[in-house]
Structures are given as structure tokens and as C-alpha cells.
């Protein structure tokens, strides 16, 4: 079964969906009296919006929209990636006249957002992290995401300077492209300081498992790992356990320095208000927001946490230097020659993949130096 047949199959479903349902239910969505010049935005979170992590970072972005004139924000949390999210989107549209939907969990996109978008062609959908396919996905769908791997690269540089054992740890929820990309960027940042550095990955198997995350942190610390970072929904427990075990931690999603005052080196933080404001402003101006909205440090979609006081000058200097280049757009993380940890060449000499290259969003390899 090749990728090609899958795509065409999917295209067919979309076509059928749009044609069939549009014909079956005319006017239900079009017939609503639009509330005059008001944009009603619906946010959907997969977990609790106060999770000190991923969902909270989106809720912070949603809060920033509340101050804009003419914008009403409606939020719904703990929506699982099943028929429930399809129904939630349609309920927002039907009962609350929402005209712009932000489903924020990775797993919402295919098939849920695609299906509901196909049925509601006059409503805009912008999904976090999905990969929009021109032509095969409904025109009113689209996605946005931040290049947080840039911040993970900076995390890696600082970690590379601070480690004494040359062994770093990465606690990851699942082996999906966006997680692998972070692991790779972190590793490459660290190995730019010292190519002997190794990164040990532990997969917990799900996005929020506090006890297992604590066990993983302890397991890494027992193995002599002295800097740990992560990609799980809420790094709260990991930061606190690192503080207790006396190993350094690089944060993720939000600033956790308060949880590990003596051990928090730096962190990778989202600034979702930037893409949210940009999308909303486009809609208010009557334009179609980009279906492939991406940005990194330069665009203000992500930002590093402030350095912890224990971070030395050498680390700050190198990290600042790279950050400056990233801001200028002169820095490419995924540049050849690059081998994966099986010894295969993944990016040949002279080749490079800039951030906007969607090849990176389909990553299924781990870079040399990662043990998983």
C-alpha cells in the first residue's frame, strides 16, 4: 500500500463528504443570522486548560484574543480525539455561531477536523500541528505551528555546556514527528558544544503520566545523566524531580523556573498569541489566513526562558550567538552531512532543510548521538 493510494483515497473521501453532506443539509449552517461584524472563536483543548503545560500555553494565547475588539472567545477543555471532538466543533458552530475554530491537539486533525471542515465550508478551521495538503484537504482547513525545535536547539547548547558526565536525558511522550524533531534539535545543539555527548531518550507512552515521568527522571539521574529536558504535556513533575535529584533541567511549553529555582537552566516556551492574533487579524480584515502558518524565534511564535543564574558565560555566549543567527534567518538546524543513530545518512553533504520544509514535519529518524 503506497502513500499515493492513501492520498487519493483520502481525497475521494473528502470529495464525497463535501458533496454528499452539502447536498443533504443545505442551509443549516448558512441560514444562521450572522452576528454583525463579530468574530466568534472556538478553542478546543484535549486536556485541562490549567495543566502547567501544553494546554495552558494555548489557553494563554486564547486569553490574549479576548482583549481584541469584536472578538468573542469560547473554550472547551478535556475533549477526547474521537467523535466527541467532531460533535464539539459542530456544536460550537450550530449552537454558538462560532466562525473560526482552533482545535489544538495533534490527534484532532485527521480525520476529525478534515471531516467537519468538509461539512461546514463557510467556517474556518485552523489546526495546531497538522500538515495541510493542498488540493486534498478542504479549503477552509489549515494549520499553524511553531518551530520550537529552535528553542530546543538552544536548550541543547546550554545543556552541552553545563553537563559534566556528557550524558543528557530526554523524556518523551510518544515517538511522533514533532517529538522526534525536538529530540534531534536538542541533541544537535548539545553536540555542537561537544560531539562526545550522548542523549538518552525515555518514552513514557502517553502525554500525561506523572508517576512514570518521575520514575523516568529518577532512572536517568541514576544513570549519571545530569541535564534533562522533555516533551510531555506537563513538565511540572519532571522539573520538580530534577530539582530534588540535583540534576539540571531545561523546560518545555512554559517557564518552569519557579519549580526548580536552583536547577532550571533555560526552557523552550510557546507564544501562541502571535499566530492566534495574526489569524484573527487576517479574518477581521476579510482575508484568508495562511493554510500553512509557521514561525519560530524570528516570528515570535516561540521564545527561550531567561537563563538560570547557574548558566555560565560560555553557554550564554554561544546560545545568544546562535539565537541571533536564528532571528536573522541565517541558521539552519537540519543541514548535511547528517547521520541517523543507525548509521544511515539522512541528509547528504551540501543538502539542507530549512525550517519551512515540510519534509521535517514527517521526521521518523533520530540523529546520531541519541540512544532510544
Amino acid at each position: 500500500m503506497s502513500d499515493k493510494t492513501n492520498v487519493s483515497r483520502r481525497r475521494f473521501i473528502q470529495g464525497m463528504g463535501v458533496a454528499g453532506l452539502g447536498a443533504a443539509f443545505p442551509g443549516i449552517w448558512l441560514g444562521k443570522p450572522a452576528r454583525a461584524s463579530e468574530l466568534r472563536v472556538g478553542f478546543i483543548y484535549v486536556g485541562s486548560r490549567d495543566d502547567y503545560g501544553y494546554n495552558q500555553s494555548h489557553a494563554a494565547g486564547a486569553r490574549a484574543l479576548r482583549d481584541l475588539p469584536g472578538v468573542t472567545v469560547l473554550e472547551e477543555e478535556n475533549v477526547p480525539e474521537t467523535i466527541a471532538v467532531q460533535r464539539t466543533m459542530e456544536s460550537m458552530i450550530n449552537l454558538d455561531d462560532v466562525n473560526l475554530v482552533f482545535p489544538t491537539s495533534f490527534g484532532y486533525y485527521d480525520p476529525h477536523v478534515l471531516r467537519v471542515a468538509g461539512r461546514n465550508s463557510n467556517i474556518l478551521f485552523r489546526h495546531c500541528g497538522g500538515l495541510y495538503e493542498e488540493g486534498s484537504h478542504p479549503e477552509n482547513a489549515g494549520s499553524y505551528f511553531g518551530y520550537i525545535d529552535e528553542c530546543q536547539y538552544l536548550n541543547g547548547i546550554v545543556a552541552g555546556h553545563m553537563t559534566r558526565s556528557k550524558r543528557l536525558g530526554f523524556i518523551a511522550a510518544r515517538a511522533i514527528p514533532q517529538v522526534l524533531r525536538n529530540i534531534n534539535a536538542f541533541t544537535m545543539g548539545a553536540r555542537s558544544v561537544d560531539p562526545d555527548i550522548r542523549v538518552q531518550v525515555i518514552y513514557t507512552g502517553d502525554w500525561h503520566l506523572p508517576v512514570r515521568e518521575a520514575e523516568a527522571t529518577n532512572g536517568l539521574a541514576d544513570q549519571g545523566v545530569d541535564v534533562i529536558t522533555c516533551h510531555v504535556d506537563s513538565p511540572m513533575v519532571i522539573a520538580e524531580t530534577c530539582e530534588a535529584r540535583g540534576v539540571y533541567v531545561c523546560g518545555y511549553h512554559a517557564d518552569q523556573s519557579r519549580l526548580a529555582p536552583n536547577r532550571y537552566l533555560i526552557g523552550a516556551e510557546w507564544k501562541w498569541e502571535t499566530p492566534y492574533k495574526r489569524i484573527v487579524e487576517d479574518v477581521m480584515a476579510g482575508e484568508t489566513p495562511s493554510r500553512f502558518l509557521r514561525g519560530g524565534l524570528a516570528e515570535g511564535f516561540v521564545q527561550p526562558s531567561a537563563y538560570g543564574s547557574m548558566v555560565g558565560d560560555g553557554a550564554r555566549r554561544q546560545a545568544d550567538e546562535v539565537k541571533e543567527k536564528m532571528m536573522q534567518g541565517d541558521f539552519v538546524i537540519f543541514e548535511g552531512p547528517l547521520n541517523d543513530n543507525q548509521g544511515n545518512t539522512v541528509i547528504a553533504e551540501g543538502e539542507s532543510h530549512e525550517q519551512r520544509d515540510t519534509w521535517l514535519e514527517q521526521m521518523d529518524w533520530l540523529v546520531e548521538g541519541v540512544r532510544d
Binding site: 443539509f25 477543555e77 467523535i83 456544536s91 495533534f106 480525520p111 502517553d206
Partner: protein
Amino acid sequence: MQAGTLFLHARRAGSAAVPPVLALLAACVLFSLFLLVQGISPSAVFGNIYDGAFGSWFSWQNSMQRAAPIMLTALCVAITAKLGLIVIGAEGALVLGGLGAALAGLALQGWLPPLGAQVGLLLAGAVVGGLWIALAGALRHYRGVNETISTLLLTYIAIAVLNHLVEGPLRDPASLNNPSTFPLDWNVMIGEIPGTTIHWGFGFAVVACIVCWVLVNRTTFGFAARMIGGNPQAAKLSGIPVGRVLLLACGLGGAAAGLAGAVEVAAVHGAANSSLAVGYGFTGILVAFIARQNALAIIAVAILLGGLEASSGVVQRRMDLPDATLVVFQGIAFLCVLASEAIQGRLRMPQLLRPREAV
């Protein structure tokens, strides 16, 4: 004769429905107090609950759709409970049933006509789910392993197996951020009931409930099952093949849960992935016990619960309250309904006063 018995049934069902209705009213009062203490308007909350759950045809469909998988997992609990078993592992049967259905669908599509592949994958889901719970039944019967623990353990094991296979050997490399098996063909997917936006899973679930009711109340199998539930020793002495009935009941219950998984795959996801394990199995336990293991009552209770879940979103969006608000209400409501069983059968007074010729 039929009209008379029907009337009797209706009357009995009617009087059986009085305590739960009173209980729901009591729950509303308690929940209102809970809200008033915090200065939240109960009328606004209840208005939104009604709006989101049953206020329009759209909302009804929303509630019924959410009820479909819960009905089937509740059946798994209810059928086995007739024998006195407490099975809390419908989630595991659902998850593996979904996986089995996805694999069967992939194998069958292409060389069977779509309808054949659909039937095949639904059957596969039911068979896998049935075998999974029957395994717990066999452990119970042949080794004396308590089925409550074994089904709970088997659930965690089933979820681990699903995740392992879906992220490893069975993963479709094109499934990027939600690792899944290869997708089913569009024409194998199960569509919607004509005139509605509800997928056929709801229809299957209702039919399964009715079949199950008949099976338990109108067949020798059901009689044997109830007899084992009443007194296993007596059942054995009177020549009932306890082991066979037990395995069959577990298999049927597991099949219902496995069917729920198959429907999730064939009507919603189009592939098997970790979104199968979202707790339908656990919600089913609650529904089955509230419905007092009555397969027909399960339909009503599941729709009510689906409605509460559907309305949670409306309450969150319009009143900026957390998702947990409706969970608190569900908790209070179910505690009240369960407590109301104490007055079940004691509300005959008004009927006794009336002339009894109808009875």
C-alpha cells in the same frame, strides 16, 4: 391477551421510573445549592444543559451519538452481571475489538464487496472482544481467578498491546502525529443513518440492547444465567452447564464491547489508534449499574449520559466554567439515582388506593 400484558409491562415500567425521576430532581436541587454557594445561577446552567443535550434535533443527535459506544460497553457489564460476575474490563475488549476490526477490514477490503468487508470487520471486532472477556471467564471457571481483577488487568494489557502494535509493527508511516494502522477504504467505512448525522453505530447498539434483553428474559440461556446468578450451587445441582453458560455470557458481553471498538474504527477513525482507549469501557460500568443491568434501561441511561457529556461543552463555552462542573453533576445525579433504589417498590401507595381491576 397481548394488549393486557403490554399494559401491565408499561405500568410496571412506569412505576419503576418514578424513583429515578425523583432522584434526578433531588440531584438538581443539590447541584443548585452547590452552584448557589459560588454565586453561579443554576437556572442558567440548567438552561444550557437542556440546550446542549436535548434542546434541539441537533442536540438530540449529539447525545444519541455519544451514547452509542457506552451502550455496548454497558451491555458487556450487564450480561455478565446476570451470572453474578462483575466485569470491569469492557475497555480492553473494545480496544482489541477495534484493532481486530481494523486488521480484518484491511485484509478483506479489495477482494470482498464493501458490504462483505463491513460485515467481516464488525464480526472480527465482536469475535476478538468476545474471546478477550471469555478468557477472563475461563480463568474464573477453570482456575478460580477473580474476574473483577483479571478483566481490569487485561484492560491495561490490551491497551499496551494496542499501543505497541500501532506505534510499531502495524504503523502506517503516513500517520504522522497520531500513529495508526493503515486506513480503511472509504467505501468500507460505515456511514450515517439516513436523515440524521448519527452513524450506524447507534443503530447497532440499540439493536444489541434489544436482542440482549430478549436473550436474558425470554430464552433458556437467560434463565440459566439468572439462575447461576441467584444461586450457583443450586444451578449446578439442577443440571445447568455452569461453565458453558458462563463462557457464553462472557463471550457475548465481550462481543458487544468488541463491536463498539469495531464501530469506532469503521465509523469514526478509519484506522485503529490510541484514541480507542478513551474510557468508554469505564463509563459503561456506571451505565449498567444505574440501569440495574436491564438492557432496555441501558438505552435510556446511556442517552442521558451522552446528553450530559454533550451539554458540558455548552456550559463551558457560555459560562466559562470548567469541564469538571458537569462531572460533579453527574456524580451527584448518579449517587441520588442509586440511593433511590431504596424507595423502589415503596411508592405503590397511590396505586393501592385505586381499584385494582387493571392488574
